[in-house]
């Protein structure tokens, strides 16, 4: 005798073990030693697919349709073979873009549309509720049956109780509490629940063992092996029909449709998406799961037909529902413990499905339905709350409770109208509506948000009309005439024979029309409309996820993928937009098309662009630029897409790209300038060398000429000889001066010159320079005027000899340009803004403004250098300028042709300028 409390106790003990497994799994995950990070746990957790539908319902299905229970498992087996392509891609996308649910996946793919996320959530919740109600029905039914042990009472008679006495209500509440404990203990950004996965894997083992043990007991305990069961069954005409395919009706069609439907559902069921994609630890786990998961399905189905046949033979005519054979067969054989184990197996199948399904749905309800609305309600001020995690958790808890209550309501309402499998198939058909949006989304770039919304809505509407409403009608919520005569008596609109289509069962009928509407409208609306920028970006990111995450290894292909719209702006940046456009236009004409936009994006085009670019910035740089355009762009896009939020993403990305290209342009310009400077310096060095040798040769030639004359002609008169020797001496002096100055300049330039910086009185320096050059002025009959007095003047920090050198240089230059007799040179002194200013003004021919800088270049002697003999070495001014600059000053010239020239320099004053008189400050200008 099994007391109710024993069953309850065992059930809670089992759930306690389950919770312990989950707790252990979470602890291990926190410690970084995950127990679920292996392919076997992954494959086992995938078996959450097998709910009470499989555990109890398969036998029921087999009892009515024979092998008709199988397509639901063959479909996934086939689909899993394609997971190598599809699921791997979905997992990669999910991980790369941190997707948390199937609603998130679809809305992300179509431009992160909130509308689409809401739609998917609503469809998933409505679609899956029958499925949840199925679990409640199976669990509560199995509890009721077991409670009456050893009598076998069908729950159909027990269901008409007041709500408060209904075990299903308590089971629903208990499952809600349990799911909340499992799934919403804490928030995880990735929505992963390691402990949960461990518990689900454990449940998969329990339900498989439970079913295998019962199956083995029936096959080998009650009967003597498969052979005997089938042999006995062959003798019953009704059972013999189950072992073949009925000739009546469209059995093969149904078979095909169901296989197809379950192929889609294995991916699109929210709980399968949660376990196989979101909870996936490593995409390599797929490898083993590809054959382990079908193997699991195979094993759990081996005994289905024997149990069904055995039950039907044993319970012939006793009104036992075939959906309960797994439990009632051990009971009928008085196997108390086995019956209890079977009950636990069914419990684990049901709880596993409910827990994962409601967690997945609650995540969607919270993230895609409730939160967007709450965040939009201003007076809640959610934006200002620092921590929303508690709010999120409580939303999820309420969502879980709500979903289970909806499931319970459906269970009460639908009653016994459907068998387990038929109820589940309604849900399958609903979630299959996601398939076009998902599979289209990962392979077809052109699918648009509007297309997905329209397709999904249409498919869902057809589903509701052809499956959901009829189920209401069968449960008595709607008049039966809705089914038999069509709404408003229009036979063409009969929900299960839409437009007169007959010969299909209701699932196939629904699947055909809903998929036709879904896919057709999805494609037509997508092709008719246009994608927004965000949609295009997301579409590319989804479709090209492998290329994006493996970019470096695909470098060999980059050439082919550079388009005109990318290359043209790049060239424009370096060549100028007009020139770039012209070049492309010319190229396009050569290729026989009218405009650059019509050019094919092929390797030749890239080569052409590279060549053009090479002309501006050099071959290697051009290659790098063209390569960067193609290679570096995608990762940049991904990063930005990840970091930034929705609408601003694409704009931010293009801003960043512009910023990058501006920086590049700047860097290119700098490099060009530096290169130009280097070339100029190189040229100047060569010029300098040739000038120096030229300057040296002139005095050397005359020295040699006069020396040879003196050597070869001993009869030269003394005065003549003296004149020649004087020239030789003079030229030698000039040579010495030149060499000294070259050495001097190179010393200053290389920084190896010695400087004896002391505090100097400027008046003293000027007096000294004037005295030194007074002989020169007298010889040239040029007047020299100076404002520097004999008193103490302003003081500067400088090298006395160097400063004198500068002044003598300026003075001797002035003398050289003045005409003897008329010349006048004036030295003026001033102080301003902490600087001493010295002007040396002459009344010579002046210097044209164009030459104001050239005179400071080496060996540049402005004026009639061609006609007259050079009057200086051409190094005086460059040396002077460097000396002045060394002491922190500046040397320049102001002049106009015919009005004389003023050479001025300034030096920082040692003493504060306050000491200087106002008239001096004005002089500085």
């Amino acid at each position: 005798m099994l007391q109710g409390w024993v069953i309850v106790l065992v059930a809670f003990a089992y759930l306690g073990v389950l919770f312990a497994v989950a707790y252990y799994g979470d602890k291990r995950a926190e410690a970084g030693r995950s127990i679920i990070a292996n392919p076997y746990i992954y494959a086992l957790s995938l078996a959450v697919y097998c709910s009470t539908w499989t555990f109890y319902g398969s036998v029921g299905r087999a009892a009515s349709t024979g092998i008709g229970f199988l397509p639901v498992y063959l479909g996934p087996t086939l689909m899993v073979a394609l997971w190598w392509y599809t699921m791997r891609k979905i997992i990669r996308i999910t991980k790369a873009y941190r997707i948390t649910s199937i609603a998130d996946f679809i809305s992300s793919r179509y431009g992160k549309s909130q509308m689409l996320g809401r739609l998917v959530t609503v469809i998933a919740v409505i679609g899956v509720i029958p499925y949840i109600s199925l679990q409640l029905k199976a669990i509560s039914g199995s509890f009721t049956i077991l409670r009456h042990y050893p009598r076998i009472v069908m729950p159909a008679q027990a269901v008409a109780q007041p709500i408060l006495n209904d075990t299903a209500l308590y089971i629903a509440l208990m499952l809600a509490a349990f799911t909340i404990l499992f799934g919403t203990r804490h928030l995880d950004a990735t929505e992963r629940h390691e402990g949960l996965v461990a518990a689900i894997a454990f449940e998969s083992v329990v339900k498989l063992l439970g079913f295998l043990v019962v199956g083995a007991f029936v096959t080998f305990g009650i009967y003597r092996g498969f052979g005997e069961i089938f042999r006995l069954a062959q003798q019953v005409p009704r059972l013999r029909a189950l072992m073949t395919v009925a000739d009546t009706g469209n059995t093969y069609g149904t078979w095909g449709f169901l296989t197809f439907l379950s192929m889609l559902s294995i991916v699109t069921l929210p709980r399968q998406f949660q376990i196989s994609v979101v909870e996936n630890v490593d995409e390599d786990h797929l490898r083993k799961a590809i054959w382990l998961f079908p193997l699991y399905l195979f094993l759990i189905n081996v005994f289905v037909l024997p149990i069904a046949l055995g039950g039907m033979m044993l319970f012939a005519g006793r009104g036992v529902d075939a959906d309960t054979f797994v439990l009632t067969l051990p009971m009928a054989q008085q196997k108390e413990a086995l019956a209890l184990f079977a009950f636990i197996g069914g419990l684990s199948a049901g709880t596993g499905m409910v827990i994962v399904e409601t967690i997945a749905l609650s995540t969607m309800v919270c993230n895609d339905l409730v939160m967007p609305v709450l965040l939009r309600v201003k007076w809640l001020r959610l934006n200002e709350r620092p921590d929303l995690s508690r709010l999120l958790l409580s939303i999820r808890r309420w969502a879980i409770t709500g979903i289970l209550m909806l499931g319970y309501i459906h269970f009460r309402a639908a009653g016994e109208a459907y068998a387990l499998v038929a109820t589940g198939l309604i849900s399958f058909a609903a979630v299959a509506q996601f398939a076009p949006a998902i599979f289209g989304g990962i392979y077809w770039r052109g699918g648009t948000r509007d297309g997905a919304i329209a397709g999904l809505s249409a498919g869902f509407a057809v589903w509701a009309y052809t499956l959901l409403l009829p189920s209401f009608a069968k449960s008595g919520w709607l008049p039966a005439s809705f089914l038999t005569e069509g709404p408003f008596g229009i036979p063409l609109l009969k929900p299960q024979q839409l437009f007169g289509l007959s010969g299909l069962d209701e699932i196939s009928h629904c699947l055909f029309w809903s998929m036709l509407a879904n896919i057709g409208i999805h494609v037509v609306v997508s092709l008719a409309g246009r994608q927004s920028i965000t949609e295009t970006g997301q579409a590319t990111m989804f479709v090209d996820v492998f290329r994006r995450t493996q970019a470096p290894e695909r470098s060999g292909l980059w050439r082919g993928s550079a388009a005109v719209e990318d290359l043209l702006p790049l060239l424009g940046r370096f060549l100028g937009p007009d020139r770039a456009r012209e070049a492309f236009l010319a190229y396009a004409r050569r290729r026989g098309v009218d405009s650059p936009e019509q050019l094919r994006a092929d390797a030749d085009l890239v080569a052409f662009a590279e060549t053009q670019l090479a002309g501006a910035i050099g071959g290697a740089s051009a290659r790098v630029m063209v390569a960067s355009l193609v290679q570096e762009q995608p990762p940049g896009l991904d990063e930005v897409m990840d970091i930034l939020d929705e609408a601003s993403q694409v704009r931010a990305y293009s801003r960043q790209l512009e910023q990058k290209s501006r920086e590049l342009e700047a860097a290119t310009a700098e490099l060009r300038a530096a290169n130009k400077l280097l070339q100029e310096l190189d040229r100047m060095k060569d010029d300098f060398m040739s000038t120096v040798t030229h300057e040296l040769r002139t005095p050397l030639t005359s020295i040699r000429a006069f020396s040879e004359i003196l050597l070869e002609d001993p009869e030269i008169h003394l005065p003549e000889r003296k004149r020649f020797l004087a020239i030789i001496v003079k030229e030698t002096q000039r040579l010495t001066r030149l060499i000294n100055q070259v050495l001097d300049l190179s010393k200053i330039e290389s920084g190896s010159a010695e400087w004896h910086t002391t505090e100097l009185d400027v008046h003293e320096v000027i007096r000294e320079s004037v005295e030194t050059s007074s002989q020169l002025f007298r010889e040239s009959r040029v007047e020299l005027v100076t404002s520097a007095g004999t008193d103490a003047g302003p003081r500067v920090m400088a090298d006395r000899d160097r400063l004198v050198q500068v002044l003598i240089n300026l003075l001797s230059n002035a003398v050289k340009v003045c005409r003897p007799g008329e010349g006048r040179v004036e030295i003026r002194l001033g102080v301003s803004n902490g600087f001493l200013r010295v002007d040396v003004q002459d009344n010579g021919p002046g210097i044209s403004p164009a030459d104001h800088e050239t005179v400071f270049e080496k060996f540049r002697q402005v004026g009639d250098t061609l006609t007259g003999k050079p009057k200086g070495t051409g190094l005086g001014l460059p040396i002077s300028r460097r000396i002045v600059e060394h002491f922190g000053g500046r040397l320049w010239v102001e002049s106009e042709l015919g009005k004389g020239a003023t050479f001025s320099f300034i030096l920082p004053l040692e003493v504060p300028a306050a000491k200087a008189g106002p008239e001096l400050a004005q002089a500085a200008g």
Partner: protein, 76 residues
């Protein structure tokens, strides 16, 4: 762990995917009409097990076995 999906293994990975796709196509043919109808003859069967039942589970096991072989071949 994921190396087989990347880099130098791309080629092998591609072959594995193609083999799995071939198994998928083979499965679609084997487990559907009209091949299925060849095994619906009443009577016969293997060791008392009805022919259709034996065939379906046999074909299913074959598919799983092939997938296991293709996926688990030592990676070189």
């Amino acid at each position: 762990m994921m190396r087989s999906f990347r880099g130098g293994h791309v080629k092998r990975s591609g072959i594995t995917g193609q083999r799995l796709a071939a198994i998928f196509l083979m499965g679609c043919i084997l487990l559907n009409y009209p091949i299925l109808s060849l095994f619906t003859r009443p009577g016969g069967g293997i060791a008392g097990i009805p022919l259709l039942y034996a065939y379906l589970f046999g074909a299913w096991a074959l598919l799983i076995g092939l997938m296991a072989v293709v996926v688990e071949r030592p990676r070189d």
